[in-house]
Symmetry: C2
Subunit: 270 residues, 2 copies
């Protein structure tokens, strides 16, 4: 672990990351010494810092630290957190606050192969996401909704939970972004009111645009999702999982999903 460039695993109890969740994060998957899509992650965390008014360390500096971690941990999950730093009492941020940036490393998780080949069972969470346009899309440290949703009692067969907003629109998975395919059109929820815009969501969107696959980013109801031809989930740790079951609906054919999954696999080293 690194905190502000020093090898340590502790931060101040006065760090605004702890006090208010006043910070952002991104999670990298490292394989064979390469942090997959590292530039996209760094670009996103820099954008998120800008949205919250946190001064992001220079990307060249973050790249340098990441490179040193990759030497010691070539195959790992690497998490980067940037907070607004230590400050005086009170919610208002002092202009002279120095941001804190820290890296944490953990082992690559192993998921069942059938999650990739047959798809996963997706439960619909009871919690409804709140709507805050000023925070929507940002991968910030205020994640109590995700914690509560993950802690809802549920059968272990469900590998992920689906989060809706108060209007019943589909937003995302607890730790993933969601896409549906309907009549050859790829769709993903609009995240202007809530949700986290992950790097893999951006990659799918970019791919669709580049390959002229019809794409819609808009409100998607649960009814629409359950009527879709295909559903899949993406995130940077797990990659891409098709959905084989949600509520009473089952899916067996993943033509578009497999096409995208193949592309994701090819591009891993980039």
């Amino acid at each position: 672990m690194l905190v502000n460039g020093a090898s340590r695993n502790l931060i101040s109890i006065r760090d605004r990351g702890l006090l208010y969740g006043d910070g952002v994060f991104r999670t990298f998957r490292a394989e064979h010494g390469v942090a997959l899509h590292q530039h996209l992650h760094l670009q996103k965390i820099q954008q998120d810092c800008t949205k919250l008014g946190i001064s992001c360390p220079a990307l060249s500096h973050l790249e340098y630290e990441l490179a040193s971690l990759l030497v010691a941990h070539p195959n790992a999950i690497i998490k980067l957190i940037i907070t607004r730093g230590i400050a005086q009492r009170g919610y208002a941020a002092s202009a002279d606050a120095e941001p804190t940036h820290l890296w944490d490393v953990s082992a690559l998780p192993v998921y069942p192969m059938q999650n990739y080949q047959l798809g996963i069972a997706l439960r619909v969470c009871e919690l409804r996401l709140s709507q805050q346009p000023l925070l929507a899309g940002i991968k910030h440290l205020n994640r109590l909704e995700n914690v509560l949703a993950a802690n809802e009692p549920h059968d272990a067969k469900f590998a992920e939970g689906l989060l809706l907003d108060a209007q019943g629109n589909v937003i995302e998975g607890i730790r993933s972004n969601v896409f549906i395919v309907q009549g050859g059109v790829l769709m993903t929820p609009d995240l202007s009111q809530c949700g986290v815009a992950g790097v893999q969501r951006d990659r799918v969107i970019t791919y669709a645009v580049q390959h002229a696959i019809p794409l819609q980013i808009r409100a998607i109801s649960l009814v629409e999702l359950l009527a879709a031809d295909e559903i899949f989930l993406v995130n940077s740790v797990l990659g891409l999982w098709p959905v084989r079951q949600c509520e009473n609906r089952h899916w067996y054919d993943f033509a578009m999903t497999e096409k995208l999954a193949g592309l994701f696999e090819q591009e891993r080293g980039l």
Copy 2:
């Protein structure tokens, strides 16, 4: 400072308080070696822990630690944070997570006497609070909305900012609870969808009930607030401030507010 009973000012970067804001807090005002309304604060933090499924340390243990801090810091602001503790990667809380509890001490702030005597100027924040009934009322560590509201550019004459929800209802101040008086009736916003229920809000409510002052806890629009006979704000650090200005409205008479403020002053040592 104390972290899990030990004299230190650092916590693990794997603490869920940092990673997810997965914890709660309360702020005590200590005067002459007494933490004002300590039992109310401890009761509230215990209730908040229960709502989030965090196992709260025994109150007798927290009281013991607080007493030791009061000997060294008889006049201070003392903050207690309880988090779900250190955990494995992922939003789901492991059943065996040991909570972290920590205390931080800072100097008593000094506010202008006119805030108490003439009242303060209150601005209306641009940010609208999001609605999450599962978190409403709880003083949890997901406080980015308060941070963004406090950081909105504003004239320094405004000592506090008023937060509304998306429907335009008044909820609270950035760091205080709000009451209005209209025709002899005391009113405070319903906090079932958003907002933090502070100890001082409970005290005012209890006082009203005990003294048969008509009290309403309900949705209050900004228009209603601006038409009120009196407005005042409460929190455990600043006590009670009347409002002398909000938008284009000015107030000069604080009959009910002064009655309550007098009571608050008398009860300080309890």
